[in-house]
Amino acid sequence: MQSISIIEPAPDAPVNAAALARERRERVLTWVLPVLALVVAIGGWEWVVRAYQIPHYLIPAPSRIAQTLWTDGPSLMGSAWFTVKLTVYSLGLAIIGGVLLGALFALSRAVEMSLFPFAVILQVTPVVAIAPLILIYVDSTFAALLICAWIVAFFPILSGTVIGLRSADHNLRDLFTLYRATPWQRLRFLLAPSALPSFMAALKVAGGLSLIGAVVAEFVAGAAGKNTGLASRIIESSFRNEIPRMFAALVLVSLLGVVIFLATAWLSRRVLGHWHESEIRREH
């Protein structure tokens, strides 16, 4: 069989030395600039505290916070681990619950209409207001905190999944109908990939929210004792006026937040980078 031999020429790659150099410079700057800004900010803070001799029980210098992190590290690590567990579990459960319920909503309009109000009520009621009740009804503190953090992180995943599953191209849907795709094939090869961009956006939001949920829930619970998280360390230190320790715990919470942010951003780029507009690096 004769083949058709008309191939449109591929667009030429930009072989412009100046453009390449500019691109390289920009790539370096995306790292250098934020690091530089951070160093300047911390340096300025250190200098202000030293120059004006601000007492450490008001504002500790960064060096003092670092020192506290070093000395109190072992005692804070247990709490940090507790918060990590709480955050990761609640995010995991939010993903499982949000995706399952989202898929159910996408499959059945009736289910969505019946259950959506509950999801909205859960979302709009501040977790701080529900937490005391949950603490009464649930024996295990960890489980109660988990439920609180889950409520906060769950809704974005749910709505992201529902919107995503609905966003599949209608012509592609027709194509799957034409080729008599089974419901499973439709989900696996069309709906799930179509849902990924909005799911990933939701995951980035939910990642941050699960940490906020974990910290806020612990504040509300006022949990004390050995087996508690960073939020409890912060409250505890404030009662004892240990401001550097408060800051140290705070740094750990922020670090955790940054790690979650980087992880979800990395995952998003990993999953969408080769095809979705939101994660494609423009060359020009």
Partner: protein, 258 residues
């Protein structure tokens, strides 16, 4: 067999939920090997008719019957949409593989067939590219390769090249005619371009709007497939005028109605 009826539409009507009569009483017999154009203004129901033939839209009344293909389990009907309609997350290869994958063909069995389909549209080198890396014309080729990968007898095309530039469009027109001739395809090609319909088809079904219906059924009795030279012949102009007049007649009639 070539020339035998392959699609029969018998008094087919389509009424949408908002009470528009998109297609009214359409009766048409299409023979194997025909290259038919549905030509008409927007709103004449040509795309609706095509989707009903593909089974993508249910008919409101009437029947559509397609002569069964002996011993074929995979989809016997290829469909090319107005947009390329590719999965942006999948490579060109995986996009073309899709119909076979959905039919349960294994990767190993599918490989030579997908490669063959890509060769036929000249995209072998781009198998691992993603749709966003391709030009509009190349995306359309992928879409055609995907429609052809199940070796269908019938190819339905819904204004496939309307959004492309003139050069690319004419290249793709030639490619489709060539594929159709080589494989003895029956093609229904929806278009609103008189020239495209004259150049491509052996038969032009002129449709009128409000309600959508068949207004005229004209045979373009010129040897087929045709060459580029024919585009500038007086014969081409004459055929184009004949079909243009028919189309104008339906438009004028509509104008008097309102």
């Amino acid at each position: 067999m070539k020339g035998d009826p392959i699609i029969r539409m018998d008094r087919v009507s389509k009424r949408f939920g908002n009470d528009t009569l998109a297609v009214s009483d359409m009766t048409l017999t299409i023979n194997e090997g025909d290259f038919i154009s549905f030509l008409g203004p927007s709103g004449c129901g040509k795309s609706t008719a095509l989707k009903m033939i593909a089974g993508l839209l249910p008919v409101t009344s009437g029947t559509i019957s397609i002569a069964p293909a002996a011993g074929k389990t995979e989809q016997d009907l290829g469909f090319v949409f107005q947009e390329p309609t590719l999965m942006p997350w999948a490579t060109v290869y995986d996009n073309v593989f899709l119909p076979l994958r959905l039919a349960g063909v294994t990767k190993a069995d599918a490989r030579p067939r997908v490669e063959q389909a890509l060769r036929e549209v000249g995209l072998t080198k781009f198998a691992q590219a993603y749709p966003r890396e391709l030009s509009g014309g190349m995306k359309m080729r992928v879409s055609i390769a995907r429609a052809m990968v199940t070796r269908p007898r019938i190819l339905l095309m819904d204004e496939p090249f309307a959004a492309l530039d003139e050069m690319t469009r004419s290249k793709l027109n030639n490619d489709v005619v060539r594929l159709a001739a080589e494989q003895g395809l029956t093609v229904i090609f929806v278009t609103h371009s008189v020239f495209e319909s004259v150049y491509l088809s052996t038969r032009v079904v002129v449709m009128a709007a409000r309600p959508g219906r068949v207004a005229d059924d004209l045979v373009v009795d010129v040897p087929w497939p045709r060459t580029e030279d024919w585009r500038i012949s007086t014969e081409f102009s004459a055929q184009a005028r004949r079909i243009s007049d028919s189309l104008k007649g339906t438009l004028d009639a509509e104008h008097i109605d309102h």
